[in-house]
Symmetry: D2
Subunit: 487 residues, 4 copies
């Protein structure tokens, strides 16, 4: 079905596929607001814009096509880049953001509510720069763009060696079947497409725990095809976007999807990493009693110190009103557990993939009924009890599916890291500084990202004296902490 | 222009005027969800439904036509009442709620985004039961239905005495001009309309600080035309809906309207009553620095004890990012103060009327430009600086204009008080128990409302022993506190 | 044994009985600090000192003889009063406070760790002004001074009528046996002592929930012998001292007595009135999981809205680490419940009387062993399990027994109410304004108390315009709220 | 003067110098309580006690001689060690803890309120094991024991080379003068004392930020004389003791020292590292308005996200009521800044050394007056204004000087790390695993420490399935996080 999708062109000839171009003006108004909340990105434009460092660089981005991302895209173009973009989640696109970027700034292939087929078609379009191969740089979120190239190269090499085409039936994973199908189709047309891409690629910057985990695995296995910068583990990303972003957007998603009163409710947060900490804090502050499930004893003890109970999911199935998964792992809430929940218990995921919640088990449960209240808010009714659960965003990122994701200010921190990482990869493309490994940004750049966001909040930093700097053995201008410091 | 409005009829002949009847099914789904969150109302249906206490009673309601209100309306009809309804705010209707009630349960005249003309036309329709005068009972929120009848009666008496018609040009207040115009038109057709209404009316129950204030003033002046029950001052209303409701719905409204990150921002809450306390708590918990303005030294000292700064508005005009008015007073933020704010400072009101913020001053400011980002979210740009403020819901109730108001659970507390008050008025309509005064519900009913909401939250009450009850001189079954207890 | 107690005299001839006069200098230093934290009392000295309104007034106070109380006493003397003082709790005296007041300002009969016999001897001394009867005014806390006079008068009247002396064996209550014994002794010497007191007495001001409850009972029964001002229900008392005072002093007492880490613990707060709210807030903020027990459904629902579980004591006996009673009722934690607690569970009371915890049941439990860790911190070991509980302050007010009670600033609010109430009673002593009833202070005085405390915290009040004041129908200078307002 | 100090001996011949041996029984009672709160240490006794791993090991400890430390010492002796101990701070000893350990378990040289001369005499005694040199292992806190040996060795080598004795007048630092004097005296008696120590020493485990910083500097300079384990940077130390410990003990210290009401006050926390985060959280929760000063933009942005203002000290000097230094740096609050503070502003330090606050500047300020309210609570009055500040614990660790330091539970985490580190050093003493470098404990031991503390809090961990563990590429039994994870 994706094959019937067609690309449109702007009057200037730039390609796009979005829901509704008429929303572009609304998108521009929201971008205008967002820019004021994104001081880090605007400072990058001021500092680097004049020298056009990305001149002649092609950047492909696979990252939720929201208003905040629009400001990122226009920062990249303001620095001289040519850009193509897709979303990294079928529900996360804001259609007015996609429209305005498509109209004004970059090639966009994204809309809210893609099918999986459509999703991968968009990813493919985003990476396809026509003649001369693919992008010079990738901005990735979750690693799907990176995955496609790696799987493509692997398939091409296998095909060249053995003539064997990828076999979509070789996997149970529905989404991976689509990926293999896409590569298979491509192979028939151009058997060196992904290797040509690889050869051109300078590197990728990746911003999620999940995507970074994939990259480190590839580095470990020796299969990583190009340098990668792990933006996720910049302090100004993982301790801000993951923590404060989710603290903001979890209740936002719950409210928009269900209007449920959080106060007085019993809420279970599965996982107490940065995302879980943000979610638990938000729920507690809104007046819920919060219970945490954890595997890691250190994180569990942190939860205890904040007054949160640490129990297993089984302990609280019948008691809780709201369940949130934040683990980055899979199989966290299974259909048999959902059956034991209270009527209208809310179940949602704010981790990256939809396999935290057993959607497949739910969809295939005999006799189960799905009642769509509104888009991304479904009631699933079990036949035995005629009671049901409320599932948000089909188990995908609920803050992006049901609300608008993280707010501009915290995304400015994350995206300023992305810009700096892209600059670093591009500037060093010929120096050999970066091998086919995963890198983190140096601490002074991390501190710089933070510093760019302080004036907006009226914060005034103290300056070290020379004597003080010497006493604690740091440069006056930073970095101020050892690499292992945990913040 | 309101004269061109026309009433539709359902197949069963019931009147309505709503935005879009096709949203009725969506409304029903949301009502299904809300019922589970409104245990007090559902318990009323169980307890009182079988005896149909409201048989033959006509109830007119002027109260935000939301999903929660829909459950209230259907509780009244489940108890035997015939009902007509309008919203008490031009922006607060949820159109799917209006549609489903119009289709299934009651006459509704309400849509989101009424003009003031339309608003008063709806109120007039709601009170007009045709032959036999008006309603037996009024459910009021803000007192507009009550006001219209009182002003109508006053005008009729004046007209009878002196032949003088009301003069809309006698007032600067645009909205009051419309009220006088409406009465004037009515007078020409039926010079005893409002007095016929008055004669039939058993009483009103009113649920807002503002409306209650009006009622006490009328009682004081001896002009109150019928008994009134002050539902606002039930503990389970003022200390729940006002406080916890706003704690929930203020950030909800801010997020939906602006997606602004609250953490790190400086927020000013004007007024630290119940509503202000809820707003300040929500903002603080979301990570804002909160500053309170107050007139009352006791409330100011309470703010201090919670770590909030108490300053004057002038002190913080140029420093704050978010301004919220919660006072129930007028003239809290004037246009000259808005001019001194930061670019894109957010200004909104969660008190009852739109005169807390100087909308008139803003609209008539020379050279000011209004840029509508989306409905209820406007940027107003001042010509001198080319900077502007973001005004929410045109200065009206932002939680209802920009979000969906208070969540079901807390509204269940408020509305259970309304149902009990209506029952009380109706059951005692012939006993003479209630004179033309303002009453509050007795404490044991207040405690009952609370008790109906505890099981949903898994709460288990302790029981007093006889010995303990005697020791503190209360009945075992309550009420447990003296009348002056403050909770 | 109390009969062997002897009164000392200062060089100026003033009576006293304290622990250690050498601590007076230390007491003075702490008073110097406290004065800066008690702006309300200091403002009273400035405003009223010059006119010496208490000239010729004798004031007897029964109120924890702490440093804060010392500042109260010296405010009364600064306004011209002659003062005698005792503590209203056997553990609550700070000996350096008693010493300095005894040396410099008033007759004091108080020391930390009185026996009950000694306690009532002190109360008796405090009320005994020699020739001419008792005090003109009483400052009471818990109502023991008031009780003694009422019981004395009753006994005298009975004795006059029937010749019957009070019979200490007529009651099981150990403390009341002592009271009756004391009156009996007194009767033999002077059979009109208490009636002479009554005749002179202008009135009492009382500041606790418990004492006020006693007063209203006497008013109800028609046995109240003199006017009383209920200071407890001033907003600036009950919503400050009870709430914020306990929020401060509960963790203070826990820390000083046990050094236990509160974070991570499960804590049970019995009662969710003002005191319970303060305690629950403190424990939650310190990182405990807090469970509330409640009788009153409204207070229970408030606890739910703050994310606290509401359960019965039985539900959590074996699970909780810390138990706090705050009810003002009796029989809250019984010895059989203590036996089921975890080893080293902490049990304490911050309500007024020690009958909230079943101390008698504990002391008389067969085979129980008491191990005193340090004064006011005892481990009680049950013979069956060889495990035990930690009981604080022998079940009496743990914040005064184990720490120093509420901090100066909040006590300044309470005590400024006391001063104003005493002034009111004294100034109106001949006007007949106050009958033998219980009164609360008018709201404008309540607001004044608050206003006196704002400048110290840097708070700046907003002023109403005439137009605004009219709009909400209040005087510009207040009071700003109706009497029923709950804050 | 230290030369006149004399060592006592127990009947069994063990040396000690403590304040009051009669407090030993009280110490034992408090140890009994503490053991129940220190599950990690008790688990070490259960797991390792039987095999007596420390048999023949001599351990010297320089670490606050509190009740919690007593449980640590008795854990070391329960595992077979012989132990000598001193405090690492002149005010931090709890005399009953010192007494009971001296009587029952180890050689102790410590009392509350040592002079600096006495302090270093105690350190010297602690390291002196007579014949055969010094200890096998050192438990260090702040690094003073390690410093003394390093300075001693340096001086001996210089003396051997050039005959030059250390010159106390070569430094302005009063404390370092004493150290040099002590070494100088020692050199005259035994010019190889410290080198003999060094030769025997297996290693040190160090638990403070400050001490660890010193160790890394020595490693960098190549002067580190023996292996060191950095216990401070175990997650279960730095993110627990520093953060949650200070959150508990800062308000405890403030309350015991000053009884000041924290609610309503303006508090300044200098530094927003782990200690600063704990302090700021405690003050905010207690109702203060909290302002942070920071050098590091990342930490500053974290403070903003929690709603705290970030300003410079100069910005708030005249406005704040409470100042706390937490930086680990020096010269944070200077005497000229103290002069500008409000009357009775409270100034205190919870960082390791007393040079965060300019004590020297204060003491030498012309005409300044010191009024000791009680031990560790001094008012310093400036002559110009006759106003003053309240300085706690003479600028040293206020939580140990004014209260009892961190509570048992969190110290159990820290000290379990110490025990594990000591075991690691001792078990590997011959394997060459540890060179003269600084090491951190491996993550699985860190997780083990956390796991040992969960059951006490009723926490129940979730177990990974094999499939889940593989999915996120960790062993089922952990460690669960990459080394760089920040928690």
């Amino acid at each position: 079905m994706a094959s019937t999708l067609s690309v449109s062109k702007t009057t200037s000839g730039r390609e796009y596929k979005v829901k509704d171009m008429s929303q572009a003006d609304f998108g521009r108004l929201e971008i205008d607001l967002a820019e004021i909340e994104m001081p880090g990105l605007m400072a990058c434009r001021t500092e680097f814009g004049p020298s056009q460092p990305f001149k002649n660089a092609r950047i492909s981005g696979s990252l939720h096509m929201t208003i905040q991302t629009a400001v990122l895209v226009e920062t990249l173009t303001a620095l001289g880049a040519e850009v193509r973009w897709c979303s990294c989640n079928i529900f996360s696109t804001q259609d007015h953001a996609a429209a305005v970027i498509a109209r004004d700034s970059a090639a966009v292939f994204a809309w809210k509510g893609e099918t999986l087929q459509e999703y991968w078609w968009c990813t493919d379009r985003c990476l396809d720069w026509g003649e001369g191969g693919g992008p010079d740089l990738i901005v990735d979120d979750g690693g799907d763009a990176t995955l496609l190239i790696h799987e493509g190269v692997k398939a091409e090499e296998e095909f060249e060696k053995s003539g064997k085409l990828p076999d979509p039936t070789s996997t149970d994973n529905v989404e991976f079947q689509i990926v293999l199908g896409l590569i298979k189709e491509g192979l028939k047309i151009n058997p060196t497409k992904y290797r040509t891409m690889r050869d051109r690629l300078v590197g990728v910057s990746e911003e999620t725990t999940t995507g970074v985990h994939r990259l480190y695995q590839m580095q470990l296995n020796g299969t990583l095809l190009f340098p990668a910068i792990n933006v996720n583990d910049s302090v100004t990303k993982s301790k801000f976007d993951n923590l404060y972003g989710c603290r903001h957007s979890l209740p936002d998603g719950l409210m928009r999807a269900t209007d449920v009163m959080i106060a007085g409710k019993t809420a279970v947060v599965c996982g107490y990493g940065d995302v879980g900490k943000g979610c638990a804090a938000a729920l507690k502050q809104a007046g819920a009693r919060v219970i945490v499930t954890e595997v890691d004893p250190i994180c569990a003890l942190q939860a205890c110190m904040e007054g949160l109970q640490v129990l297993t999911l089984e302990d609280v199935l019948s008691e809780a009103d709201i369940f949130v998964t934040t683990t980055g792992n899979k199989g966290i809430i299974m259909v048999d557990q959902m059956r034991k929940m209270k009527n209208n218990a809310i179940v949602c995921n704010i981790g990256h993939f939809d396999n935290e919640i057993d959607i497949n088990g739910l969809e295939t449960y005999p006799g189960v009924q799905r009642v769509t209240i509104k888009p991304q808010t479904d009631r699933w009714v079990f036949p035995e009890t005629n009671t049901g659960i409320i599932l948000l965003a089909e188990g995908r990122l609920m803050n992006l599916g049901c609300a608008t994701g993280h707010p501009s200010f915290v995304m400015s921190c994350s995206f300023t890291n992305q810009v700096i990482a892209q600059l670093e990869l591009w500037n060093e493309r010929k120096s050999g500084k970066y091998e086919k490994k995963v890198y983190v940004l140096p601490k002074h750049l991390d501190e710089k990202v933070a510093a760019l966001h302080l004036p907006k909040l009226g914060a005034r930093l103290t300056k070290l004296s020379k004597e003080q700097a010497d006493y604690i053995s740091v440069p006056i201008e930073g970095p101020y902490k050892p690499a292992h410091y945990r913040y």
